[in-house]
């Protein structure tokens, strides 16, 4: 069981423990996240639920032999909305590097356009009713420390060059009606 998987498993276990026997027990994960986000007394529930969602999404954002230039709809929209692939890489890395502490870099589809955003800790665009997450990159230190230690930039480069699953991004765009 990989170290990163242990984090995900812990979030799942914690979440299950928190919703058992409550009225949230049979709700969807997205619904639990949104309800917890709206209630400042439910920070523990939010953190675990959101991190379950974020990590599941993150696994789908990667594939062996992935990375490099995008194809299909996401490539088109990166050109149209984000100034092309090279600019996207710069800005996505800036988002990941500029997230001081723990968090995530995101590609989201909102208002008919692609945007690059970043969130701290467990926060997620799932809570934004107008945004559809397209891709994410985990920049919590546990995501890269064993392989890259302090060098978050090297990890981000490897993620973009070798791992990004553009098929998943295109699937998310299609689901959003892009």
């Amino acid at each position: 069981n990989s170290p990163h998987g242990k984090h995900h498993a812990a979030y799942v276990n914690n979440l299950n423990g928190l919703i058992e026997g409550t009225d949230l027990e049979n709700e969807s994960l997205e619904s639990i996240i949104k309800k917890a986000a709206a209630d400042s007394g439910k920070a523990g529930l939010f953190n675990n639920a959101a991190q379950v969602w974020n990590h599941t999404f993150y696994w789908h954002c990667m594939k062996p032999g992935g990375g490099g230039k995008p194809h299909g709809k996401v490539a088109e929209l990166i050109d149209r909305d984000l100034g092309g692939y090279d600019q996207f890489v710069k800005d996505f890395k800036a988002a990941g590097g500029g997230q001081f502490g723990s968090g995530w870099a995101w590609l989201v589809y909102k208002g008919g356009k692609l945007h690059i955003t970043k969130t701290p800790n467990a926060e997620t665009p799932v809570t934004d009713i107008d945004a559809t997450p397209i891709l994410t990159m985990d920049v919590w230190e546990h995501a890269y420390y064993l392989d890259y230690q302090n060098s978050r930039p090297n990890y981000m480069g490897a993620f973009l060059d070798n791992l990004v699953n553009w098929d998943f991004a295109n699937q998310n765009l299609a689901d959003a009606g892009a």
Partner: protein
């Protein structure tokens, strides 16, 4: 539940006496001349990188000190230089935009500078004594109960941050505090002085303890330099 405090004050160099700096006060920008470059420097570890083994492995100490702390110093100096240039031009937008980098890197430099002195080889750890021990026992029942409470609080910090044993200089009370990311404990604003900090950023323990932050917290007390913690208490009280 941890309370996360956010402070967006500019760090003042003059109230950070513990930070090592080369040279005297930095000269202010003049109408025609340029100011001297910011010169915060990385302090040395007061021991070899391997001195805290087996509690904290030497590879962690080396990377933590020469990469992470060093980057805070480098980036702090760079941000301060940019700030000074912006200030000389009256470029308020840039001055404001730089403040999060100054807070983050300045806080990182302050926090880690304290942290290295709070730690020592296991054989030098000793135990808390004197007035500080009495205050800890009065507040938490026993030193062990204090550690248990401290560890529970530190383990529960979401994401990156620090847990502190703090002295309130106004009412002389001790408390356990948490701060997110590299937010510093305080610079006198609310009277809190840091006595002992434990870094719970993943970089502080991940290579050795992986995701088991509670295991790191259980072990780290073996390398707490109680002499240093008491010195800080005696100086601040």
């Amino acid at each position: 539940v941890c309370r996360i405090h956010r402070r967006d004050k500019m760090l003042r160099k003059s109230i950070l006496p513990t930070l090592s700096r080369v040279g005297a006060a930095v000269s202010r920008a003049s109408v025609s001349g340029s100011r001297a470059k910011s010169s915060f420097t990385l302090p040395s570890l007061p021991y070899d990188a391997g001195a805290l083994e087996p509690v904290v492995m030497s590879e962690i100490m080396t990377i933590h000190h020469t990469k992470h702390h060093n980057a805070y110093v480098t980036n702090l100096n760079a941000a301060l230089d940019k700030y000074a240039d912006a200030e000389a031009k009256g470029d308020m937008a840039t001055m404001i935009a730089l403040q999060s980098a100054i807070k983050f890197n300045g806080g990182g430099h302050v926090n880690h500078s304290i942290f290295w002195t709070n730690l020592c080889a296991p054989k030098d750890s000793g135990s808390v004594s004197g007035e500080l021990a009495a205050k800890i026992e009065a507040k938490w029942g026993s030193v062990d109960d204090f550690k248990t409470t401290f560890n529970g609080t530190a383990a529960a910090i979401q994401g990156s941050g620090w847990a502190w044993l703090a002295l309130n200089t106004k009412d002389k009370t001790l408390s356990i505090q948490t701060r997110a990311n590299q937010d510093p404990l305080s610079f006198g604003g609310d009277g809190l002085i840091p006595l002992l900090g434990i870094d719970v950023w993943e970089h502080a323990y991940y290579l050795q303890y992986k995701n088991a932050r509670p295991d790191y917290l259980k072990e780290v007390w073996k390398v707490v330099n109680w002499k240093n913690v008491e010195e800080r208490f005696n100086e601040a009280k």
